[in-house]
């Protein structure tokens, strides 16, 4: 007998092809074939529908994302101040946000003047101090010299009256005590003038630097004021953006709710269809007698899917 043969083949270790041959023979029986085919078709249909549901969900999500991307796009805006300055925002073709600020002609002229002054002051602060020190020293000495000359002449007269004009003492550097004292005083005045000139030059340098700093700071005030003037507009833009984002979120949620409902329905339909097909297929494959061949086939199929 064939079955026996088959059993033998199978039982005898005839291989996978022998098993397939036995299975095919079984399946070709009429009471197995029809329910089996219908069940299989239904199951396949259920399978196909589940696949379509995923595709539709993906497409819906992508559409939703595109819509939300568009809904959340930055909206450029422009701010114009009362003094004529303006700030303009733009989205570049690449998607970046470009901001341009412009001052009024008067503000721009003032800014140029202040920045130019700052440059001038900084330039002066960078100048070597030697020449300025010399100039200050010369002015100080110019003030001191007339009195020194008067004192010198008075001393000369006193010394002449005392017959001391031609006196020279090694102890006083070849001069006289009073001449040495006078020269010392002059030297001290000269030293003080020199030191004062240095300090004055440094103070002036510091002053130039501070003036440069002040001018530099003042030069940017129009711009700072423009920026300050844009603050309310920026807040409004932020509110708008927030509302925009919120609307897009609501839109997305609503859209996703529909999609999810549809997915659930489609999934339920697919499951029902699949259950029907599964039932038919299970009936078709349920053995009506004790047939070892079928049992072995099923057993072998079970092994195959293990």
């Amino acid at each position: 007998m064939a079955v026996a043969t088959d059993d033998e083949t199978i039982g005898g270790g005839g291989g996978f092809f022998d098993f397939l041959g036995g299975l095919g023979s079984y399946l070709m029986q009429p009471d197995v074939l029809l329910p089996g085919v219908v069940g299989g078709l239904l199951t396949g249909e259920a399978y196909g529908r589940l696949s379509d549901i995923g595709q539709q969900a993906k497409l819906g999500a992508e559409t939703l994302a595109a819509q939300q991307l568009e809904q959340t796009q930055f909206r450029p805006f422009t701010v114009t101040t009362a003094t004529g300055g303006a700030m303009d925002t733009q989205v570049t073709p690449e998607g970046a946000i470009a901001t341009t600020m412009g001052l009024s002609p008067e503000e721009e002229a003032l800014q140029q003047q202040l920045l130019g002054g700052a440059g001038t002051f900084f330039g002066r602060a960078e100048q070597p101090m030697g020449a300025r020190e010399q100039a200050i020293y010369d002015r100080m000495r110019g003030v001191q010299r007339p009195e020194e000359e008067r004192q010198r002449l008075a001393l000369e007269e006193r010394m002449a009256a005392q017959g001391r004009l031609g006196l020279s003492s090694a102890a006083y550097g070849g001069a006289t005590p009073e001449l040495l004292a006078q020269q010392t005083a002059i030297s001290e005045a000269r030293d003080r003038a020199m030191l004062g000139a240095m300090q004055q030059a440094q103070a002036e340098q510091m002053q130039q630097a501070q003036l440069g700093q002040a001018f530099l700071g003042a030069g940017y005030i129009p711009q700072q004021q423009l920026l300050a003037a844009t603050q309310p507009a920026q807040q409004l833009a932020a509110l708008q953006q927030q509302a925009q984002l919120q609307g897009a979120g609501l839109f997305g949620e609503a859209t996703m709710s529909g999609l999810e409902a549809k997915l659930i329905a489609e999934q339920a339909r697919a499951n029902l269809l699949g259950q029907t097909g599964t039932g038919l297929l299970a009936g078709a494959l349920t053995p009506r007698t004790d047939n070892s061949l079928i049992a072995s086939a099923i057993s072998g199929l079970g092994k195959f899917f293990d």
């Binding site: 002449a160 009256a161 005392q162 017959g163 001391r164 004009l165 031609g166 006196l167 020279s168 003492s169 090694a170 102890a171 006083y172 006289t176 005590p177």
Partner: protein
């Protein structure tokens, strides 16, 4: 009727010294027209000067030259040494003269000024590097060779040097007649460090220009003598702060060697005669009285004719100030013990002495330089040779210049002049041809205890006094009486001359 002889007694004739300034007729008989080789002795009489006794026995280094300056070196340790200059050499010693001139140091003039300062003796002469000697070194060396010497340069090779107020001061340089340099305190060889210094007084002269001739220190003052003006600085103890205190115009000093300190004053010879610094400062405005008022013209003449050196000395022991005009071999002797009514010193004249240098040494002896070397002013002969004492009165009119005077007798009273030959002279009417009477003073041998008691004399008969009565001749309205004597071993003083004359008719 025969007239009575009038006796006119010239007591202590010439005790006021020589007076050649006043009219002979108007003169006080106490003046003398001539008083040669004379001094005013301790009793105010005119007397013969002392002679000199040559100490030097070996004077090879001097050759035929004369000693031109003498100074005694003394230091605190008691060392002393007599230095002199002459024959272009620096000489030491008194009996044997030793050449002390430093090696490779050429001298062509003997116009040195020598001063003691801080245990050293310094030699200064214009254009010559100063020399210095001290007992430790034992030899005269150039100032620049002294250890620590500084600033010794030709600019300070002065002709005048003064040791005063702890410093050496020098002036009168070859090309600078207005600057005075002083050395560091007590360091005579440091002329550029410490408290050394200088002063140019060219802007101080009261007459606008003068040249420094001499320096002197007196009463805290630095006296700077110009040729015809004097400037005085006070506070010279600290020269850096000294200041002009006085100036005198019109009176200067003719030579640095005429300046002598008398202890209370500074004497100097100006171009108008001998002056006193103190009186010059006191009187200041012209005319300034002169200490040589009575012989002013003689002094001026001597100044004008002098071709060599002036040498002076002040001797408190002898009480005189001598000034020698070496080129004329004339010395004027001023008695500094007192002044006359006109403020002048009593002056006498020494001629033909050959004295060319003086120095009073520490013991009070007066050393004299001559061609024979160094002498001491002592005795009454010039190294054994006699010298002539002369006295001539001014023209005497006996109170009436219009009447003839017929001299009958001259009765001089002489003190001393042992065994001297005396020439009594008289002339009339300003004639310079004198009538002369000669006599010899008696002999008196001094007996000394233990020497002559049993030989020539037993004792000395006291002061020898000679009174002679000489018959005079001739007549005239004015009379000059003179007395000359060769001094040769004994002093002579003229006590008085009693003139016996008849006053004749009007001429």
């Amino acid at each position: 009727m025969a007239q009575e002889l009038q006796s006119i007694n010239l007591v202590a004739p010439a005790f006021k010294g020589v007076n050649t300034e006043d009219s002979p007729l108007a003169q006080d008989p106490s003046f003398a027209e001539i008083a040669d080789n004379a001094v005013i002795d301790k009793r105010g009489r005119i007397a013969s000067r002392k002679g000199h006794n040559v100490i030097t026995t070996t004077k090879t280094v001097l050759g035929t030259s004369s000693i031109r300056a003498i100074e005694e070196f003394r230091d605190d340790a008691g060392n002393n040494k007599i230095f002199s200059v002459g024959n272009n050499k620096i000489i030491s010693g008194t009996t044997t003269l030793v050449d002390e001139t430093p090696a490779s140091y050429t001298i062509t003039a003997d116009n040195w000024k020598i001063v003691n300062f801080n245990d050293k003796i310094y030699f200064f002469q214009r254009g010559y590097e100063p020399l210095v000697y001290d007992n430790a070194g034992g030899s005269v060396v150039k100032l620049s060779t002294v250890s620590g010497a500084a600033g010794v340069a030709s600019t300070m090779y002065g002709n005048e040097v003064l040791a005063a107020y702890g410093r050496l001061w020098t002036a009168d340089f070859s090309s600078d007649k207005s600057t005075i340099y002083w050395c560091d305190l007590l360091i005579g060889h440091d002329w550029s460090g410490g408290t050394s210094g200088s002063i140019d007084v060219s802007k101080v002269w009261p007459d606008g220009y003068d040249e420094i001739v001499a320096l002197a220190a007196h009463n805290g003052l630095l006296i700077i003598f110009g040729k015809h003006s004097i400037i005085v600085y006070q506070g010279a103890e600290a020269p850096a702060t000294m200041s002009l205190v006085d100036t005198v115009a019109g009176v200067g000093c003719v030579d640095r060697d005429t300046v002598q300190h008398t202890g209370t004053d500074v004497l100097f010879l100006s171009h108008t005669g001998l002056k006193s610094f103190s009186r010059t400062i006191q009187e200041k405005s012209m005319p300034i009285s002169s200490l040589s008022t009575n012989i002013t013209k003689d002094i001026i003449s001597a100044l004008q004719n002098e071709s060599e050196f002036y040498r002076t000395v002040y001797s408190p022991e002898e009480g005189f100030y001598l000034i020698a005009f070496t080129g004329q071999n004339v010395i004027y002797c001023f008695d500094v013990r007192g002044t006359l009514e006109n403020g002048a010193y009593r002056a006498t004249r020494w001629v033909g002495t050959g004295f060319t240098a003086f120095s009073r040494i520490a013991d009070g002896s007066l050393y004299i330089g001559t061609t024979s070397g160094i002498s001491e002013y002592t005795g009454y002969s010039d190294n054994g040779l006699k010298y002539r004492f002369k006295y001539y009165s001014p023209s005497l009119t006996f109170g009436d210049a219009s009447r003839a005077k017929i001299l009958k007798k001259l009765k001089p009273t002489l003190i001393g002049a042992n065994d001297a030959t005396v020439f009594l002279k008289w002339a009339y009417n300003f004639d310079t041809t004198y009538s002369t009477a000669e006599f010899t003073v008696g002999t008196q041998i001094t007996g000394y205890y233990g020497e002559s008691e049993y030989t020539t004399v037993e004792f000395t008969a006291g002061q020898l006094t000679s009174q002679r009565s000489i018959n005079a001749t001739g007549y005239g309205t004015s009379v000059v009486v003179g007395l000359e004597a060769d001094i040769n071993g004994a002093a002579l003083s003229l006590q008085e001359i009693n003139v016996m004359a008849l006053i004749g008719k009007l001429l």
